[in-house]
């Protein structure tokens, strides 16, 4: 287990533009930490800096409290799994797994024992004599994992290890990697662009965009309480619905005619009367007859079996998505009345995108106080 501390970690390739801007984070021993963000946000660069494959422009990297900026990759005592697995094509699975162990002064006998152990753990025992090209994608992935596990390094880095697998296998490997990490008790830093992987695997996650940290937190906290509109629209599938809204007196007006009352508490926090309103798809429902509702036109319906996604036009050029359980037989083009759960509204500054108010977090805070 390893503690990884980043203090003002900065990376620049040309000396002018920073691809990573002063990242501060402490990754606790035994934690499964996920770096997530769109492509080009700097997440892989950050991982490679921790691995020692990229130089650090400014700031400090500490492993177990010791400065590690100038350590060579092999001196950092970590293992890494690459997106394309980086298996040696001319070596068998067994040779691939044990390749490099001799550097760590591990005897031939011990190498063999360790290799057999991890192969058994990952279901590779029958394939030990095969070459990588004779394996399926999932098996290659497992060999790459085995190679990381066999070193018994206390810190493991993974760079989008599942992105070359099909959806079904990905879901399976997701759970396997998580279980493996728990079993071995190692610290894991995992890079992905897939928010589902981040949500399902992470103890904590960091959302990066354009080299900046957007938010760090536990998956549910991030989901319920996105720090800004970027996180709101990146985390969650489908993403949070956003629209610009105005405040007049004690009501919030979006698109000129849809309105919802706001509480005094909410109003106290607002300095402007123009905000961006955010609503999660699951907080939109079909309005009951007695309820106040809002008439919208359905643009598309996706029935997934257990749930239904309804895309509808909201305002001039905005489409919102509502998600509700069960199978709905709404047809595209139909007019439906929807209701928005006003206990789950989030308000963001239209200018900066920063969160101004989020009901979920306020409620959580209240709960804490009362208990």
């Amino acid at each position: 287990m390893r503690k990884v501390e980043l203090k003002g970690l900065t990376k620049s390739y040309d000396g002018k533009q920073d691809v990573l801007k002063a990242i501060d984070v402490t990754i606790e021993p035994g934690e499964f930490f996920v770096l997530v963000g769109p492509s080009g946000c700097g997440k892989s660069t950050m991982l490679r800096m921790i691995a020692g494959l990229e130089s650090i422009t400014a700031g400090e990297l500490a492993l177990d409290g010791k400065r590690a900026n100038a350590l060579s990759p092999s001196d950092r005592d970590l293992s890494m799994v690459f997106q394309n697995y980086a298996l040696y094509p001319h070596l068998t699975v067994e040779q691939n797994i044990t390749f490099g162990l001799h550097v760590k002064k591990i005897s031939k006998k011990e190498q063999k024992a360790r290799c057999e152990e991890v192969c058994a753990m990952l279901g590779l025992t029958d394939y030990m004599k095969r070459k990588p090209k004779e394996l399926s994608g999932g098996q290659r992935q497992r060999v790459a994992l085995a190679r990381a596990v066999v070193t018994q390094a206390p810190l493991c880095l993974m760079d989008e290890p599942l992105s070359n697998l099909d959806a079904k296998l990905r879901a399976k490997m997701r759970s396997e990697i998580r279980q493996l990490q728990r079993k071995l008790g190692i610290t894991m830093i995992y890079v992905t662009h897939d928010q589902t992987e981040a949500m399902t695997m992470a103890d904590r996650m960091m959302i990066l965009s354009g080299g900046d940290v957007q938010q760090i937190g536990r998956p549910l906290d991030v989901y319920n309480n996105p720090a800004n509109t970027f996180v709101a629209s990146f985390i969650g599938s489908p993403p949070m619905n956003l629209i610009e809204a105005e405040i007049s007196d004690s009501v919030l007006v979006a698109d000129g005619h849809w309105m919802t009352p706001i509480t005094a508490d909410m109003k106290a926090k607002l300095q402007t009367d123009k905000v961006t309103l955010g609503v999660r798809p699951e907080h939109i429902s079909l309005a009951k007859d007695s309820e106040p509702g809002f008439l919208v036109q359905v643009a598309n319906v996706e029935v997934l079996g257990t749930e239904t996604l309804v895309t509808f036009d909201f305002g001039e050029d905005t489409q919102w998505i509502a998600k509700w359980n069960g199978q709905s037989d709404i047809q595209p083009g139909a007019q439906i009345r929807i209701a928005v759960d006003d206990h789950h509204l989030a308000l963001y500054s239209t200018e900066t995108g920063e969160r101004i108010y989020c009901q979920a977090s306020e409620q959580a805070a209240e709960k804490k106080v009362s208990s």
Binding site: A51, G52, L53, S72, P73, S74, D75, L78, S79, M80, F82, Q83, N84, Y85, A86, Y88, P89, H90, F99, G100, L101, V103, K104, R147, T151
Partner: protein, 270 residues
């Protein structure tokens, strides 16, 4: 393809094959001919006798020449493989300032005809006292821009992650080079080996310049010697010598044909 078309195609291929191979085939036949048979224009020897071969060995020290050629070619081949692969490795896997620039400078030497540098090369070799030695025959050819270029292109197809993975595992550069890069680039290296062996085997001008005694001359000079010695031109003997000289080349080509094909066509698919 219908049978008729196939027959036509194979006939055309056979005919052009014969046309291509005719000079070698005719040389082979001449090597068995006696006296004036060549001048009479006959295509087929009256009898197959090995007399020409015996006199070829008697007139010039062909065995010494063959041995010299073999040593020189093997030395050049090994030297080129070692230097080219190490240089290509540096150009691909080691980052240093001006890497691309130096590489293009390196490659640009391919545009200078070898004959243009022959005189300075000769003077260098002469002042080093390497005339009439294997060193003088081989060392000037160890660095080859083409081989470096060929191997660099091949090494570039090796995913960078393999290098990074071995860095993380703590494997040294040399061990990565011998344990991963060379085995992965095996086919290209074989192609380059065959190519450089054949080029060295067929070298004529340079050995002629830097050697002047029988003990160090190579086989191509031996052939020329044979031809000029015989004022009346006993073509049968000369051709017997030629057949002896191209034999190793042919054997190498046949043995390495598959590898050579793989090397030349790889990268075409996937």
């Amino acid at each position: 393809m219908s049978i008729g078309k196939k027959v036509l195609l194979y006939m055309a291929l056979t005919v052009s094959g014969l046309v291509m191979v005719f000079p070698i085939l005719y040389a082979f036949l001449i090597s068995f001919m006696q006296g004036g048979e060549v001048l009479q224009g006959s295509l087929w020897p009256e009898s197959f006798s090995l007399a020409n071969y015996f006199s070829a060995f008697e007139r010039v020290p062909l065995l010494t020449y063959l041995w010299n050629s073999l040593v020189v070619s093997v030395l050049i081949m090994v030297g080129q493989l070692v230097l080219c692969s190490l240089a290509a490795f540096a150009f691909v896997f080691i980052e240093f300032k001006g890497r691309e620039w130096i590489f293009y400078l390196f490659i640009s030497t391919m545009m200078i005809p070898w004959e243009a540098t022959m005189v300075p090369n000769f003077q260098t070799v002469q002042s080093l006292g390497w005339l009439n030695s294997y060193a003088g025959l081989t060392i000037p050819f160890f660095a080859m821009a083409f081989g470096t270029f060929l191997l660099r292109q091949q090494f570039k197809t090796i995913p960078k992650e393999l290098y990074e993975a071995s860095q993380i595992a703590g494997i040294s550069k040399l061990r990565f080079f011998t344990g991963v890069v060379l085995p992965v680039a095996k086919t290209t290296i074989t192609t380059l080996a065959i190519y450089s062996f054949l080029t060295a085997w067929n070298m004529y001008l340079w050995p002629l310049l830097v050697t002047n005694n029988e003990a160090n001359r190579t086989v191509q000079i031996g052939l020329k010697q044979m031809q000029t010695q015989e004022i009346a031109s006993d073509w049968g003997v000369v051709m017997a010598g030629v057949v002896m000289v191209i034999l190793p080349t042919l054997i190498l080509l046949f043995a390495g044909q598959k590898r050579l094909q793989e090397g030349l066509t790889q990268g075409a698919l996937k």
